[in-house]
C-alpha cells in the first residue's frame, strides 16, 4: 500500500457541507437528501411532488458551478473518466439498478440513514462499500487494468 494525494482537510470540509445540506433539507422540508431517491422521483414522476426535486437537482449542478467560480480548490479541468464509454454505460446502468433495488445510494444510506442510526442503511452501506472495494481489487489487480 502506498498513500497518494491524501487531502483530509478539504475532504472534511466538503463532507461537513454535505452533512449540513442534508440536515437543512430535513429541517426545512422534512426530506431525506438521498440523491438516487430524489432523482428516482423525477424518473417516475409523482404528481405534486416534483418542484423541490427539480430545484435540488438544479442546485447540485449550480453547486459545481459555484465551486469553479469561487476557485477555492483544485480545478476541474483535469477531471476525466477513468474508463471507456462502454464501461461508463455498464457502470451507469448498475448504479441505477442497484440504487433502485436497494432504495438508496451513498448519500441516502451512507450519510442520512447512518445519521438516523437506521440498521437498514448500515446493511446497505456495508454492502456497497464492500463490493466497491472488491470490484476495484478485481478490476485493477486481478484483471490488471492500470490505475
Amino acid at each position: 500500500m502506498e498513500i497518494i494525494n491524501f487531502t483530509p482537510l478539504s475532504a472534511l470540509a466538503g463532507g461537513a457541507l454535505i452533512g449540513l445540506s442534508a440536515a437543512f433539507l430535513m429541517w426545512s422540508q422534512g426530506r431525506v437528501a438521498g440523491i438516487s431517491g430524489i432523482v428516482g422521483g423525477l424518473v417516475q414522476p409523482v404528481r405534486g411532488d416534483l418542484d423541490w426535486r427539480w430545484l435540488f437537482v438544479i442546485g447540485l449542478v449550480l453547486g459545481g458551478v459555484l465551486y469553479r467560480v469561487l476557485g477555492i480548490g483544485p480545478g476541474v479541468e483535469h477531471i476525466q473518466p477513468v474508463v471507456s464509454q462502454g464501461v461508463l454505460v455498464l457502470a451507469g446502468l448498475l448504479v441505477g439498478i442497484g440504487a433502485t433495488i436497494g432504495a438508496g445510494c451513498t448519500s441516502g444510506h451512507g450519510i442520512c440513514g447512518l445519521a438516523r442510526r437506521s440498521p437498514r442503511s448500515l446493511v446497505a452501506t456495508l454492502s456497497f462499500m464492500g463490493t466497491a472495494f472488491v470490484t476495484v481489487f478485481v478490476v485493477r489487480h486481478l484483471m490488471g487494468v492500470a490505475a
Binding site: E2, I3, N5, F6, S10, A11, A13, G14, G15, A16, L17, G19, L20, L25, S28, Q29, I35, V39, Q44, W52, V57, G59, L60, V61, L62, G63, G64, L66, R68, V76, Q80, V83, V87, L88, G92, L93, L94, V95, I97, G98, I101, G102, A103, C105, T106, G110, G113, A115, P119, R120, S127, F128, G130, A132, V134, T135, V136, F137, H141, A147
Partner: protein
C-alpha cells in the same frame, strides 16, 4: 410565501450539497477509485468525506427531530421500510459494482454536469435508464406478489 421559501431552501440545499461534493473532490472519479484501491495507490480522503458528513448530520438530526414538523412542511418523510430484506443487500451489491467500475455515484454524476463533457452525459443517461427499468420491474414484481397473496 412559505411555498417560495420551501423551494428556495431545496435549491440552496442542492447547491451546498454540490459545493460539498466539489470541495471534497468527489466529482473526480480517479479520486474515488484511488480510495477504493486499498491494495494499490491508496487515497484515504473519501473516508474523511463520509466521516465529516456523517458526524455533522448525526449531531443535527436528533435536534431536527425534536420539532413537531419541518419548518415549511407538515411532516418529516422517512422511509417506511425498516426491516432488512434481500433487496437492500442485493441492491447494495449491484450499486457497489457500478460505483467501483467507474467511480461515479449519483450525486457526483449530476454535479459534474457543471463541466459537462460527453462522458458524463453517457453515464447519466445509462443511470436514468437503469433506474427507470428497475422501477418498472419492481412495480411488476410487487403487483404479482400482492395478487398471489390475495389468491
Amino acid at each position: 410565501m412559505i411555498q417560495t421559501l420551501r423551494l428556495a431552501a431545496a435549491l440552496a440545499a442542492g447547491m451546498v450539497f454540490g459545493l460539498g461534493l466539489s470541495v471534497a473532490q468527489m466529482i473526480d472519479p480517479a479520486k474515488i477509485i484511488n480510495f477504493l484501491n486499498v491494495f494499490g495507490q491508496w487515497d484515504p480522503s473519501l473516508a474523511f468525506v463520509m466521516g465529516g458528513g456523517l458526524v455533522v448530520n448525526a449531531i443535527l438530526t436528533p435536534l431536527i427531530f425534536k420539532r413537531a414538523h419541518p419548518l415549511w412542511a407538515d411532516y418529516f418523510r422517512l422511509p417506511a421500510k425498516t426491516e432488512i430484506d434481500r433487496r437492500i443487500v442485493l441492491g447494495g451489491i449491484i450499486f457497489g459494482i457500478g460505483w467501483g467500475l467507474a467511480g461515479y455515484c449519483p450525486g457526483p454524476m449530476i454535479t459534474s454536469l457543471s463541466f459537462a463533457d460527453s462522458s458524463i452525459v453517457t453515464i447519466i443517461v445509462a443511470y436514468l435508464i437503469g433506474t427507470w427499468l428497475t422501477k418498472q420491474a419492481l412495480a411488476r414484481i410487487d403487483r404479482r406478489t400482492t395478487q398471489l397473496a390475495r389468491a
